[in-house]
């Protein structure tokens, strides 16, 4: 046992009905280090974090803070022990003011000193470079700002251990940079930071050490220098990974084809504040929208699918002019859309895997033609097998599946409708590497069978690997289109940044 260990867990066990979430897991965090916690979805990362933070109480094992054995039974106890957490989903109260969110649930005394709180919050926010008024209602801030406020709260609590659970997934590049700066500052102050993320680049940018979990068990703890990327991935997956290399960019270029586009939209615009854009896709083509988060790429595909209120534009499907104003119109034209936010827009949590799979096709088939139970089970089983969904049965509620498997179920839902045009908005976000590869392979396969696919991803290399054409968005405008030789990381970056001039600025 090292003297410096700030937080130490020994032999942690935790199980839920039917699942052994953690088995004999050890974890050590030193003072002043940034420690990445890695693992596929369902590996037990979130459970482990919830044990740190007192949301779940461990079944067995010991927790030591600076050598002292402690019990953590509630988030409050965790806070008292100097452990603070910032979650991917904002865990602040939207109806309270920014200052209140920073100070609620802690401190001495029974009364609230508004003046002092607002002043202290103002100073704190300014010192961290966050531009909001302390008196502003939290709900009126953007998600990124809310996340920074959550961190500000943790900082102000002089936490010894800061847990960041996928904090970067809703931040754009500049915000991530800001966050990393903050993390390094804290590290210098001696705070131990546990960083959970799916972005490998980010791990190698800021972290000192890595702990890898797989299937609820500890794989090992490594110094960052001793663990190259490929090995990290293979440790997470539990197998040597050369699958990635299989995916090659040998996709045909469609530029000169004079075949009628499967989908062609001109002057499309929605209420979500994007500039009107033109878009078309041909049979068997994979193209993608790229750009920074918030650049309007999701809004574009939502407009195509009619998910937001469409305000203008004409649409031709297979050369015929059609009207698409709501999702059902698009579905009838053979368009399918896998949304960005799986939890909010994708799954129907309490319903079974089976019902989640048949939903879209059922809606398409119509109100008076319900599938029989056996038909539904047949459909579900077919796609569970095809996509290798890991579920106990077709009747398991989808919410009890891991993120990657949920994503596969939603993909199954849309594949079942046999679309001719499939839109995938961040299908690989927040899911494990293995499933990511599966999904990319599947896309290529579907395209080779004649399906058109539009793909959006925050990871440019994924898109470069699969797309034959990239549409680049900036500030809610379509600013460029890249094909063929232009499909390189550098070129995409340049276009996103706005040509050579801005690139030089960077």
């Amino acid at each position: 046992m090292s003297e410096r260990a700030l937080l130490e867990l020994r032999g942690i066990y935790k199980s839920f009905p039917g699942v052994k979430a953690l088995q004999n897991v050890d974890f050590t965090l030193q003072k002043g280090e940034i420690h990445a916690l890695m693992g596929e979805n369902g590996a037990g990362k979130s459970t482990l974090i919830k044990v740190f933070t007192g949301v779940h109480v461990k079944d067995a094992g010991d927790i030591f803070i600076e050598g002292q054995s402690v019990q953590i039974r509630s988030p409050k106890e965790a806070q008292e022990n100097g452990i603070s957490t910032v979650y991917q989903e904002i865990s602040l109260c939207p109806n309270l003011s920014v200052a209140e969110n920073i100070f609620i649930g802690r401190g001495e005394g029974k009364f609230v000193n508004w003046k002092e709180n607002n002043k202290k919050a103002g100073e704190l926010l300014e010192s961290l470079g966050i531009n909001v008024k302390p008196t502003q209602q939290l709900g009126s801030c953007s998600i990124a700002v809310q996340q920074m406020i959550a961190i500000a709260r943790a900082v102000d609590m002089e936490c010894r251990v800061l847990i960041l659970d996928e904090p970067t997934s809703s931040l754009d590049e500049s915000e991530v940079a800001k966050l990393f700066k903050l993390m390094r500052d804290l590290k210098a102050r001696g705070v131990g930071i546990i960083f959970v993320t799916h972005f490998l680049d980010q791990v190698y940018e800021v972290c000192d050490r890595i702990t890898v979990l797989r299937d609820g068990k500890l794989v090992g703890q490594y110094d960052i220098e001793t663990l190259p990327r490929v090995q990290l991935v293979s440790k997470m997956l539990g197998k040597e990974l050369d699958d990635m290399a299989d995916i090659k960019n040998d996709i045909p270029v469609f530029e000169n084809s004079d075949q009628t586009p499967v989908y062609e939209g001109t002057n499309l615009c929605s209420t979500e504040g994007i500039s009107p854009f033109d878009f078309k896709i041909r049979k068997g083509e994979i193209n993608g929208f790229t750009g920074l988060l918030g650049s309007g790429r999701s809004e574009c595909v939502r407009t195509i699918f009619g998910a937001d209120k469409v305000t203008s534009g004409t649409v031709k499907v297979d050369g015929r002019e059609v009207k698409i104003t709501k999702p059902i119109d698009a579905m009838k034209q053979g368009i399918a859309y896998l949304p960005e936010d799986r939890k909010r827009d994708g799954i129907i949590g309490d319903l079974s895997v089976k019902d989640n799979i048949i939903l879209a096709l059922q809606v398409k088939t119509g109100f008076f033609k319900p599938f029989s139970k056996s038909e539904a089970i047949e459909f579900a089983n077919e796609y569970i097998k095809l996509l290798d969904v890991k579920t106990a049965s077709v009747n398991t509620p989808i919410k009890s599946l891991s993120g990657g498997n949920q994503q596969k179920v939603i993909l199954a839902r849309w594949l079942l409708t046999h679309p001719k045009y499939l839109i995938l908005d961040e299908p690989t976000r927040g899911i494990d590497v293995g499933t990511k590869v599966d999904i990319q392979k599947l896309m290529l396969k579907l395209a080779s069978e004649g399906m058109s696919v539009t793909f959006i991803s925050s990871e440019t290399d994924e898109m470069l690997r699969t797309c034959s054409r990239l549409l680049v968005m900036r500030d809610r405008k379509l600013v460029g289109e890249l094909t063929g030789d232009q499909l390189t990381q550098a070129c995409v970056m340049n276009t996103i940044a706005g040509g050579d001039k801005n690139a030089a600025d960077k």
């Binding site: 999702p327 129907i348 019902d355 879209a360 059922q362 398409k364």
Partner: protein, 367 residues
């Protein structure tokens, strides 16, 4: 370990049964039946006698339950859908029943509240009252669906105004339908010893069953109740579906209202169907349906409704006055919901697991 494998199967079946929603109302029913059996077995006696018109009728507490449970069960059908789709309850059903009953009598009696003959055929009166009830349902539904007001609050409006509107429709008079044919629907059809409301209720169940079986209503309602945004992206129209559930509840209300006014051939605005909204919501809750929306079991709700009526009848039998009835009902309800509360269940399960673990350990020791 062979022993554990052997007793795994019945345990699984038992676990599956316990998960079934029907368990709660069934257990409550059995408990009540057992209580009556011990306290006074004559509760279950059914006799055939003649009523004042000389027609043969069945008598007995069980018949009373089937008879008076009908309105409640019909309301529970609609309430279950509303609960599932909108995650809230309609507390205005009692008031809406008063309105639809009032409309019906208004049509039947015309301008003269003591008319000797009916001024319109019953079917016309029913259709008109049904349309009115559907309109009020649509009013509630649109507040919930389009203005996104919580259902309980939205229906609070009609709850507050409903009985006043009902009184206003008939200028605060109490019309009486003198034609005996009108009374058949709430009492007995001459020659048939089983109360008519029961047949009406069964008819409603069959229609509802068909609606759930031959349309996708169930899937749509559950989807909308669980995740509205996802439902929209899958081509559903959540607002319309919510609205529809309230309109369907409107139909149920008008049928129940019809039975209620037919029982007496008249109406008392402030008393008719009083507190029935509470009973209907209880029926849904007793059926184990989540009051926050989502998954539902129609059968469990119907059973729940009859259990509530069973309870009411049992209490009456033991001489509890109508006014004091709610106090006893409340105690039973609290006991029921406490038993089925997840927190309590978890504790019981934890206890069970400990026992099982102990058993297994000893079994392993033996082996």
């Amino acid at each position: 370990m062979p022993q554990t494998n052997n007793d795994a199967k019945p345990a699984n079946i038992l676990a599956g049964l316990l998960k079934n929603q029907l368990v709660i109302p069934l257990a409550a029913l059995l408990l009540l039946a057992l209580f009556n059996l011990i306290a006074d077995p004559s509760f279950f006696k059914i006799t055939l006698s003649q009523n004042s018109n000389g027609d043969p009728v069945l008598n007995g507490y069980l018949i009373t339950i089937l008879d008076f449970g009908s309105e409640l069960a019909i309301l529970a059908l609609g309430m279950t859908l509303v609960t599932a789709a909108s995650g809230g309850q309609d507390i205005s059903v009692g008031a809406a029943m008063a309105i639809s009953g009032s409309v019906m009598l208004r049509v039947l009696c015309g301008s003269d509240s003591r008319a000797e003959t009916m001024q319109a055929p019953i079917i016309v009166a029913f259709i008109i009252s049904c349309v009115v009830a559907m309109l009020f349902g649509a009013f509630n539904g649109s507040l919930v669906a389009f203005f996104r007001i919580q259902p309980m609050v939205a229906t609070l409006i009609l709850f507050t105004a409903g009985r006043s509107i009902a009184a206003w429709i008939n200028h605060n008079e109490l019309p009486i339908v003198k034609d005996p044919g009108f009374g058949y629907f709430g009492n007995y059809i001459p020659g048939i010893p089983i109360p008519t409301p029961f047949f009406i209720a069964v008819g409603c169940f069959i229609i509802m069953w068909a609606l759930l079986k031959f349309t996708t209503l169930s899937l749509y309602v559950q989807s909308v109740g669980i995740n509205e945004k996802t439902s929209r992206l899958n081509g559903l129209n959540p607002e319309f579906i919510k609205l529809m559930t309230y309109v369907i509840l409107g139909v149920c209300v008008s049928i129940a209202g019809f039975i209620k006014v037919s029982r007496l051939s008249t109406i008392n605005y402030s008393v008719i169907a009083k507190d029935i909204e509470m009973d209907a919501i209880l029926a849904v809750a007793l059926g184990g349906n989540a009051l926050g929306g989502g998954k539902f079991s129609m059968g469990a709700s119907v059973l729940g409704a009859y259990v509530i009526q069973f309870l009411t009848t049992t209490l009456y039998k033991f001489g509890v006055s109508a006014d004091a009835l709610p106090a006893y009902k409340a105690v039973v309800v609290i006991l029921l919901v406490t038993m089925s509360a997840p927190a309590v269940r978890e504790k019981i399960n934890a206890l069970k697991n400990k026992k099982n673990a102990g058993k297994q350990a000893s079994a392993a020791g033996n082996a």
